[in-house]
């Protein structure tokens, strides 16, 4: 029994299980307390309302896996919203061109941050903090006031609903789900994805194993920029405005979601479906509060803060358990016969 528990803890997916379990408990509690929670649309709304955060979290998870960070995501999202609104309001460019322009802008910005970080071996924290100030400032320079989006195509897209039979979802939600699937496949089944994990495990080892460390790092930050821009579009579809304070502090929500979903800030460990559930947990808490009706929305932050704390401690505990297990399988400094499975053929 103890052995099986140890195995479970050592499993890569342990923290994902815990996260899913937590989500299920929260959702179950919601159903028990409020009848409305039963409606499938409430569940689908989680995706509609949090589409932007889901996409941004995917991007930031890439940077966290290589033991980096991207603090600029919220600001890039705001800049994208603003530039898009400005372009639609002040130029006659078609929507498609405007979308393409802002996507390229965000991706190039991310790649530039990645280039600076990798080329000069700098702290990603500082560089992306600078990037955050830069983008937030630029957003305000374009306009201090809210710019409304009145472009009919964009407004139509924003109100478009896809019927799933049990309810409906927005375009943003679909894009978010697609992002999740693509990111999970990329990380799990491509050379690039595995190199990302290898760099998180040990950058110097990765280089010695002949992996393209530099290129991969730049691409990771480019992906984060890309996701921030995509998140910006999803955000714009909900708000239909460009505004200086859009997505304020969103980088922190994204980091929190990712960590609750099992990503280690020390790098090398991260799980995209976990990150999704991390966002959904935040969404459920918010839904709770709106059902309850009298509580301040800030309670979400309090609960998320507590959860983060619990998850970090849990991760430390897992790491410790793991190192205990591996010292057991070590053959040196141990007179006891090794535990199954036999760690080496030397004994056989």
């Amino acid at each position: 029994m103890k052995n099986r528990l140890n195995q479970l803890i050592a499993s890569k997916y342990f923290s994902f299980f815990v996260t899913v379990l937590l989500f299920a408990i929260l959702y179950g509690a919601g159903i028990a307390m409020y009848k409305g929670f039963m409606r499938p649309q409430v569940f689908l709304n989680l995706f509609i309302d949090n589409a932007a955060l889901i996409i941004v979290t995917v991007g930031i998870t890439f940077t966290l896996i290589i033991a980096g960070i991207d603090l600029s995501v919220g600001a890039v999202l705001a800049l994208v919203c603003m530039v898009l609104a400005w372009l639609l309001a002040n130029t006659g460019l078609p929507v498609g061109v405007c979308v393409l322009l802002v996507m390229v802008m965000g991706t190039v910005f991310g790649a530039a941050q990645g280039y600076i970080i990798s080329k000069f071996d700098l702290q990603p924290f500082i560089i992306t903090l600078a990037g955050m100030f830069f983008c937030r400032g630029l957003t305000a320079v374009i306009s201090q006031d809210t710019i409304q989006i009145e472009n009919p195509t964009w407004v139509a897209l924003a109100s478009y609903r896809v019927d799933l039979g049990i309810g409906f979802v927005s375009i943003g939600a679909i894009v978010a789900l697609l992002t999740i699937v693509v990111a999970a496949v990329v990380l799990g089944y491509t050379k690039f994805g595995r190199t990302v994990f290898a760099i998180g495990g040990s950058e110097s080892s990765s280089a010695l194993m002949g992996l393209p460390v530099f290129r991969t790092k730049v691409m990771v930050y480019a992906i984060s920029g890309f996701c921030s821009s995509l998140g910006g579009l999803a955000y714009s579809l909900i708000m239909l405005t460009g505004y200086n304070l859009h997505g304020l502090g969103m980088e922190m929500d994204a980091i929190a979601s990712s960590v609750i979903g099992g990503t280690l800030l020390t790098g090398g460990v991260g799980f995209i479906p976990g990150a999704l559930v991390g966002v959904l947990i935040q969404g459920v808490i918010l839904t709770f509060i709106s059902f309850q009706g009298t509580l301040s929305a800030w309670w979400t932050k309090i609960v998320v803060g507590a959860l983060l704390c619990v998850f970090i401690i849990m991760q430390a505990f897992i790491t410790e358990q793991k190192s205990k297990l591996s010292s057991k399988s070590s053959m040196e400094d141990n007179n006891d016969p090794p535990i199954q499975p036999t760690p080496s053929g030397a004994e056989s």
């Binding site: 089944y189 491509t190 040990s202 010695l208 194993m209 591996s326 040196e332 080496s344 030397a346």
Partner: protein
């Protein structure tokens, strides 16, 4: 002779302030196991890193199979067919065993990584090395020795023409080493050229065909191993003539301990660490703790230094009963301890030699008590001279020193505190013959000239026999014998270790 597989000609490499390699030639033929020998800091690792693209050479040419190559990154070297296993395991502990073997060259199916094939092939590969483990578990589930085997599996599977093994056996036991040698011979027959670096002379003579000797970044020569007697090889490595090397074995006479007892440990033990040991350490004595790895020798030293607390028994120092709660208590009693793993628990690479030496003194005096700069310099210079530490100056960063010299810096650190008892745990591991001898001699002279007591712990029996005046033999975390005078011999120790088991 057929065309060489690899020819490195007139290789130069300069680091700031140091000429690491100058005009070094190295030739490797297909189907040959070639050893690179030299003291620590002779340039073996640098030469390897130039070849594998980690460092850029400053001069010279590399010709492989008649084609000029100049790998700029490890990846390029791999593409040329040069595969390397480094001394420190360079794998990613967060990835699975299988992935570590295949990353960077994963087999694919429909454009995506084919995990099934990866896992299967990894299992087969490791089975060839006689390693049977769950390859889908992450690497951090396994011991360093196993990780080393996995690194070798990776290197062997890459379609390599040249395989470089940089001290692969330092973390392997005898059985595992044998397996490795079997694999090496197999690869040799397939026509691979293997570069093998090791400090173990026995292994060099067992497996290698040729040896290239380096000293101080310069080429001494390349020899056929069967025509080079061991002593001559050592002489070439340390750059002394044969008679001087023979002298090294005839040691400075051992110290003669005084009657006075410095430390007396009675039946000390700690739960889960040590069962029962009693040791009496006289002044001016070099006492050895012998036994196999994990027999309790390091644990005993840790108890004497207060790293672990004793749960039973008593320690008396100068006749007074002392309760050592932490290393600081031990330092106050003038005990010094050089730990086993210098990288992890001793040296601070980013500080200078002087700062590293002053560290223990400063810790003892407390941070409020400043040691004047001039005094620091004087202490550092004295130590550098006394221990013959090879540095460009006292402000050189320790990480730029070779392993043997780093070890000396740690010893210097404790000498600076002027201890009455100095514990050296594996002070000679992973360093070259010349420096080893120097450290052994130093232990003896400290005991002789300063009346210091020295605890010497080593896995190498000869070294203990040569250096110590008393040997405490341990097995299964308890003391099984104490040898003095004439009884001290490799044979005697072996018998004592084997004793109970027979």
């Amino acid at each position: 002779m057929a065309q060489a597989l690899l020819e490195m000609r007139y290789i130069d490499k300069v680091f700031p302030g140091v000429k690491a390699l100058s005009n070094v030639n190295f030739t490797l033929h297909a189907g040959e196991i070639h050893s690179l020998m030299g003291e620590n800091g002779a340039g073996k690792s640098t030469l390897v890193k130039v070849l594998t693209g980690v460092y850029q050479r400053d001069g010279g040419t590399i010709v492989m199979n008649g084609k000029l190559i100049s790998p700029k990154t490890p990846k390029e070297a791999q593409e040329c067919g040069i595969s390397t296993v480094y001394q420190e395991v360079n794998l990613c502990s967060n990835l699975t065993v299988a992935e570590n073997i295949f990353i960077g060259r994963e087999p694919k199916k429909h454009g995506f990584i084919d995990w099934k094939t990866i896992n299967q092939r990894s299992e087969q590969l490791l089975a060839k090395l006689d390693v049977h483990i769950d390859v889908t578990k992450t690497l951090d589930n396994y011991s360093v020795a196993l990780q080393q085997m996995i690194a070798i599996a990776r290197a062997v599977d890459v379609d390599a023409k040249i395989l470089i093994l940089d001290e692969p056996t330092s973390s392997l036991n005898e059985e595992e080493t044998k397996h490795l040698f079997k694999i090496m011979r197999q690869l040799q027959r397939q026509g691979m050229g293997i570069v093998f670096i090791s400090h173990f002379l026995d292994q060099i003579y067992e497996i290698c065909d040729h040896v290239t000797v380096l000293r101080n970044g310069e080429l001494v020569g390349a020899y056929e191993i069967s025509k080079l007697p061991r002593l001559e090889l050592i002489a070439k490595m340390v750059g002394k003539d044969l008679s001087a090397v023979k002298d090294m074995d005839k040691f400075a006479e051992k110290s003669t301990p005084s009657e006075e007892v410095f430390l007396d440990a009675k039946d000390i033990g700690a739960v889960g660490k040590l069962r029962e040991v009693d040791v009496t350490i006289h002044k001016g004595e070099v006492i050895g703790f012998a036994g196999l790895l994990g027999s309790g020798r390091t644990e005993t030293a840790e108890l004497l230094f207060g790293i672990e607390q004793i749960h039973k028994g008593s320690i008396r120092i100068n006749g007074k009963k002392i309760n050592l709660k932490n290393p600081m208590d031990a330092m106050k009693e003038k005990i010094g301890f050089c730990p086993e793993d210098r990288k992890r628990s001793g040296i601070i690479g980013d500080l200078s030699v002087r700062e590293n030496i002053i560290l223990a003194m400063q810790a003892k005096d407390g941070i409020m008590h400043h040691i004047p700069y001039e005094e620091q310099c004087k202490i550092a210079d004295d130590c550098i001279k006394l221990l013959k530490i090879k540095v460009s100056d006292r402000e050189q960063l320790v990480k730029n020193l070779s392993g043997g010299n780093q070890q000396k810096v740690i010893i210097a650190r404790w000498l600076a505190t002027q201890p009455n008892l100095l514990i050296l745990d594996e002070p000679t591991r992973g360093i070259d013959v010349g420096t080893k001898t120097e450290i052994q001699k130093m232990a003896i002279s400290l005991a002789k000239q300063r009346g210091m007591s020295v605890v010497f712990i080593s896995s190498e029996m000869d070294e203990m026999v040569r250096t110590c005046t008393k040997l405490v033999v341990m097995r299964d975390r308890r003391k099984v014998a104490e040898l003095t005078g004439e009884d001290i011999s490799s044979d005697g120790v072996m018998k004592a270790i084997a004793g109970g088991a027979a």
